[in-house]
Amino acid sequence: MVLKPRLEDIKITAYYLGKIILGLGFIMLIPAAVGCAYREINPVLDFLIGAEVAFIFGLLLTRLFHTEKDLNWMQGMIVVSLSWLAAMLLGAIPMYLSGHWQSYLDSCFDSMSGFATTGLVLAQNLDHLSYTHNFWRHLIMFIGGQGIAIVALSFFVRGVSGAFRIYVGEARDERVLPNVIHTARFIWLVSIVYLVLGTLLLGVIASLEGIRPASAFFHGACIFMAAFDTGGFSPQSQNILYYHSPAFEAATIILMVLGALNFRLHYQLWTGNRREILKNIETRALFTSVVITFVITAFGLAQAGAYPGALLLFRKGFYQLISAHTGTGFMTIHPAQFLGGWNELALFGIICAMALGGSVCSTTGAIKMLRVGIISKALIQDIKRIILPEKAIAIQKFHHMKEIFIDDKQARSALLITLAYLVLYVSGAVIGMFFGYPFLNALFESTSASANVGLSCGITHAGMPVFLKLTYIVQMWSGRLEFMSVFTLMGFLVAFIKGKS
């Protein structure tokens, strides 16, 4: 029997949602300050309006549903899934007001794409967008990469247990430090230290490449946020091609890889345990997977004769591959070139890389390397069980910060999430095919949206069907949250409609 949710569930959920919305309102004041610095009057007004709407909703929710109680698991999951939708709707307000998005739905699409660190773009005339709006596009990637609710965790939520439930709801099931709030603050510390260093590095490179210093460091900050948070937005319509710089490409590769590493691994490296990077199952799986998918892609590119010479093939092929595998979505080719110059084998290599993703507890999306590693080890264990004599015990272990023996529960959990991702990739592709796109193109775009990558073969544009935009929004949302909190919200809604009191 399904029970109808209690009024208290709704009250607690709404109260914490209100707190997160208030946090979003404060965050919108940051681009407003940037706009003041660049003397952009109307963009500042766009963000003041957005912040005011957020404050009004936030105050109303926290007042009407005031509670002192902490979140339980279900409420925590629902708060997370709803807060991402609220962030999309509120974050889209200043974007829509700028006039650079054809409809509010388009701005919602880009808002979700930013928060979910995807990087698919529907903005029009991006090259004339204000500094203020451009900063917002990248800031939401920075916020979304750490986790929207992590912001609330760090500054607003008092109870540690409720905080942990929100933390898990945002697809982070690993704690760097024993206390989850300390973990959230450590994630912010890592991100801000890298933000300063990354902005300096990219800013200096951009200056040396001939960009005016004021513009160079602005680009540096934006590109850092998009690279480290594996987002993929860029201030200009040409993405990374705009810079025409091998040094810029090399720097962004390093940042993308750093963003794809587990924050626990960052902690190990920061505390001097450098050997962990060599032993960890995720880094080993990532290295193996990058090599395999690059071989596939490179073979495809050579077959297609896409680039004259191995060096050019490596530069273009490897960049798109790393961008795909880390879930970033930076491009050094034009979207139409994927279909015009690359063959199906090369595209298949990129699709596989997108589908697999980076590490757990990082800013990447997709299946992720820990699950790939566990599934591979479990498979080896099962093969051993068949080969070895019946009385022999086949055990398999892996190294992930410590030595761990594989059990059926871990393997089952990894397989279930992997299966959910595969269903998401294919279902988006089938919907794309209903709108007349060939299978491979539809699968490419669907995988890119679901795995929060942002590479595009040209399907994503302002004129694409509305239903396909909605499909990709749902894919970006559920892919980023790794399903559990989205499924909980769906279950909650079903219980609300059909449940018995």
């Binding site: 952009e40 309006i49 404050f55 007042r63 200009q236 010479g309």
Partner: protein, 163 residues
């Protein structure tokens, strides 16, 4: 006489075809066309038109200028002297110069790491850009004030209820 007239009309027809062909050849090619059929245009002389956008990046005696025709933007590799004739480049606060570029198109330029680019042989400024003076959007300002009023009201009510 009839034969002469026929020859003359044939010559005229031929000339008009040549003029038409020349004018068609002189038509600029869109970025979308270049992206979609990049291999067909590889190594060919093309004419491309668009707005200079973003930063003009000087690299020694050459410069990179990104030019957008509204459908997409292409990097143009040109001599520094060509780039110095560009006064405005497109941004939030300016409309960039509209340029006509004649040059060689590369699908995967061997000199520039496999980039799709155009090496300019000549550029012509079709329209000079301009600065865009930003005017205060009154309806946005009014909306911001109204919402501020509502926000104050909600906050006061919250404080009153709190007491």
């Amino acid at each position: 006489m009839m034969k002469h007239a026929r020859l003359l009309s044939l010559a005229l027809l031929g000339c008009s075809f040549l003029v038409l062909a020349a004018s068609l050849h002189a038509q600029p090619i869109s970025s979308l066309e270049l992206f979609t059929h990049a291999a067909d245009y590889d190594g060919q002389n093309v004419i491309y038109e668009g707005e200079a956008i973003g930063d003009i990046m000087i690299r020694g005696p050459y410069a990179w200028v990104n030019v957008s025709d509204g459908e997409g933007a292409i990097g143009i590799w040109m001599q520094k002297e060509f780039a110095s004739s560009i006064v405005y480049s497109g941004s939030y606060k300016s409309r960039g110069d509209w340029l006509e570029i004649k040059g060689v198109f590369h699908n995967a330029c061997p000199q520039h790491g496999g980039e799709l680019d155009i090496h300019a042989e000549s550029i012509r400024k079709i329209r000079t850009g301009r600065e865009i003076s930003e005017k205060l959007n009154v309806s946005k300002r009014n909306m911001a004030f109204v919402l501020l009023g509502v926000l104050c009201l909600v906050w006061i009510l919250k404080q009153l209820n709190h007491k």
